[in-house]
């Protein structure tokens, strides 16, 4: 009787708070299916960037003034330039393929930097607690208050625009997000039995943190890192768009978009396609990140 009564009490809640139970796995599969599709597209983008010299139909730096501002092939363009050419006749498609190298390189490198800083400080704040925790979290709050864009802009202003500087800036500016999440996870982990047992067995702090706690914070770390790559790519292209990032003639999606803006009156494609490349890339990265989250831990709150 008690069980049925309990069952009856639980049921209406379950029905209203969750969708039809038979739909849940289907829905999750639906999401992960999109993630898999996105992952395939992402792999194609990454591959075309890595093998750019083989894939690109033309030299991204080859100037051809006579074919300048040529429209894409479906607008009376030539098959030689599928997406048309820019203001000095460089092949747009080849430049976009080569530009992917910059965006992906900056995205991954900057995320590696910020993951390292953020995870180490997050583990320290969560595990040590007390004054260490307070100091680290105050720094996190100060950096989080600053708009990411403003911070990156002002540091680039002093350091000067270059690829390495941009990786450093975006990497150093991005760590607080990791720090906050990892700290919360570590705090929850610190009081768990296996950690207490480890301490009772006389394990060193370093061993407890890196061998016992760290493996347990890997899932949120991977998910944030994936989603952050997309954010960094958008920010990198914005800096390049302003002329404060990768310098021309090196093709990067951002600086192509910035150069194309001048010609948007007559030749919209110069600005449109590099932007579309940014959009598609960040979209598939986000989809992969969401799928990863659902797959690793559907209850993860990120």
């Amino acid at each position: 009787m008690a069980t049925t009564a309990q069952g009856e009490r639980v049921r209406p809640v379950a029905v209203t708070s969750e969708p039809d139970p038979s739909q849940v796995p289907l829905r999750r599969l639906w999401r992960v299916k999109w993630g898999v599709a996105a992952a395939v597209i992402l792999l194609l983008i990454v591959a075309s960037a890595i093998f750019a010299p083989l894939v690109a139909p033309a030299d991204p730096l080859a100037v051809n003034i006579r074919h300048r501002l040529a429209p894409p092939v479906w607008m009376d363009g030539t098959a030689a330039h599928l997406l048309g050419t820019d203001q000095i006749g460089r092949d747009l498609l080849s430049r976009i393929i080569w530009g992917g190298r910059i965006s992906l390189l900056v995205g991954v490198a900057a995320v590696l930097v910020s993951t390292t800083i953020g995870v180490l400080l997050g583990l320290a704040a969560g595990y040590c607690g007390g004054r260490t925790d307070w100091t680290i979290m105050t720094i996190v709050n100060v950096v989080l208050t600053f708009p990411f864009v403003l911070l990156a802009l002002s540091v680039i202003a002093v350091l000067g625009p270059s690829l390495v500087n941009m990786i450093i800036v975006l990497g150093v500016a991005g760590w607080p997000i990791y720090c906050r999440v990892i700290r919360a996870e570590t705090l929850a982990m610190r009081e768990r039995e296996f950690v207490v047992a480890g301490r009772a067995l006389g394990m060193s702090h370093a061993r407890i943190v890196f061998r016992q706690i760290f493996p347990n914070v890997l899932s949120p770390m991977v998910v944030i890192a994936t989603l952050q790559v997309a954010q960094v790519i958008i920010l990198e292209s914005f800096l390049s768009f302003l002329g404060l990032g990768v310098q021309p003639p090196t093709p990067a999606w951002g600086n192509m978009l910035g150069e194309g803006r001048v010609y948007m009156l007559n030749s919209w494609w110069i600005a449109a396609f590099p932007g579309a490349a940014i959009f598609v890339t960040t979209l598939v990265i986000n989809l992969v990140g969401n799928a990863l989250r659902d797959w690793l831990d559907p209850h993860m709150k990120l």
Binding site: V13, T16, S17, P19, Q23, R27, T138, I139, N141, V142, V143, L144, T145, F146, P147, F148, V149, L150, L153, S154, V155, I156, A157, V158, L159, A230, I234, S237, F238, F241, L242, G243, L244, L257, R261, M264, L265, W268, A271, A272, G275, A276, I278, F279, T282, L283, I285, N286, L287, N290
Partner: protein, 306 residues
């Protein structure tokens, strides 16, 4: 409430000091102002002389103290370009930025509130799936590209709206929409999840049991409580909103603080950059503080729990 206020105030002061250190170190620790000001070919004595004039030969903390005590009085030094105080220059450009931010916030609400509510009430319907799709796509959208696409379509092709500038209400439409599109996805998700959570509460059932109409239940009983997380997160996201405004301004040549900052960075006009960074950060901190206070007033659980 008084203890809550006190704790928040302490944190506020710490964050402000932190921001001033950050702004100070941008110029004095990462870079050397003298190298930036004096041509490389100038003799070494000239470098030393200017270093003395600017007080850069003193220990770092003395320099920071000077910077901070002047900044408190609104003195950030003169622009290295035009011989005018940086503070006035930045202040002059503040109103357009604030108007743009508010307009963007308004657009985001106009998109997010109805869509988020509909998605929450009709979960897993076409509307809900559409909202999820829009939200995922919106979060991946580089808004400077969105802005340029809008200009190409509405200003260049259709000739309906001005491509850039400031003044009439037509000038507001595209920038406000661009900024709104930046903020709408996260707001929509918050409204949806907040409302879903609230709709499962006991008091909603009570209201329904009393025979209150469904429309009133949603709009009056549920919506108010669903607003709390939305306000909190939006307040915390205010910095990101201003960041979005910076991006939007540069696309539409909007005469706000962001355009000024980017210009000053290109000209290496550091007093102006410092001043703009500090003032923008102060606005963000103030908004965060106000939001904390409002939420603390609305919801007693927060001021006791935190």
């Amino acid at each position: 409430m008084r203890r809550y206020l006190g704790r928040q105030l302490v944190q506020l002061v710490v964050v402000i000091v932190g921001i001033s250190i950050l702004a100070f170190s941008i110029l004095h620790v990462i870079g050397d102002p003298v190298v930036l000001m004096v041509p490389e070919t100038a003799p070494k004595e000239e470098h030393e002389r200017i270093r003395k004039v600017l007080g850069l030969d003193q220990p770092v903390w003395v320099q920071y103290w000077k910077f901070a005590s002047r900044a408190v009085r609104g003195d950030f030094g003169k622009s290295w370009y035009g011989d005018v105080p940086a503070f006035g220059l930045v202040l002059e450009r503040m109103p357009p930025t604030i108007y743009l931010t508010l307009a963007g916030l308004g657009v985001a609400m106009l998109i997010a509130l109805p869509l988020g509510t509909l998605a929450a009430l009709r979960r897993h319907s076409i509307v809900d799936n559409l909202c999820t799709t829009v939200a995922v796509a919106g979060q991946a959208m580089p808004i400077f590209w969105l802005g340029i696409m809008l200009i190409i379509v509405f200003a260049v092709r259709l000739r309906l709206l001005p491509a850039s500038g400031y003044g009439t209400w037509q000038h507001f439409l595209m920038p406000a929409f661009t900024l709104g599109a930046f903020l709408a996805p996260i707001t929509m998700r918050l409204v949806r999840s907040g409302l879903i959570e609230v709709m499962n509460m006991e008091y909603i059932k009570t209201a329904r049991a009393k025979g209150v109409g469904e429309r009133l239940v949603v709009l009056k009983h549920a919506f108010r409580n669903a607003c709390i997380p939305v306000i909190t997160v939006l307040g915390l996201q205010f910095g990101q909103l201003l960041g979005g405004a910076i991006v939007t301004e540069t696309v539409f040549a909007w005469p706000g603080v962001a355009t000024l900052t980017v210009e000053s960075i290109r000209n290496q006009d550091f007093p102006v950059v410092q001043c703009a960074v500090v003032l923008l950060a102060l606005i963000i901190v103030a908004v965060n503080f106000l939001v904390d206070m409002i939420v603390g007033l609305i919801d007693p659980r927060i001021r006791v729990g935190a």
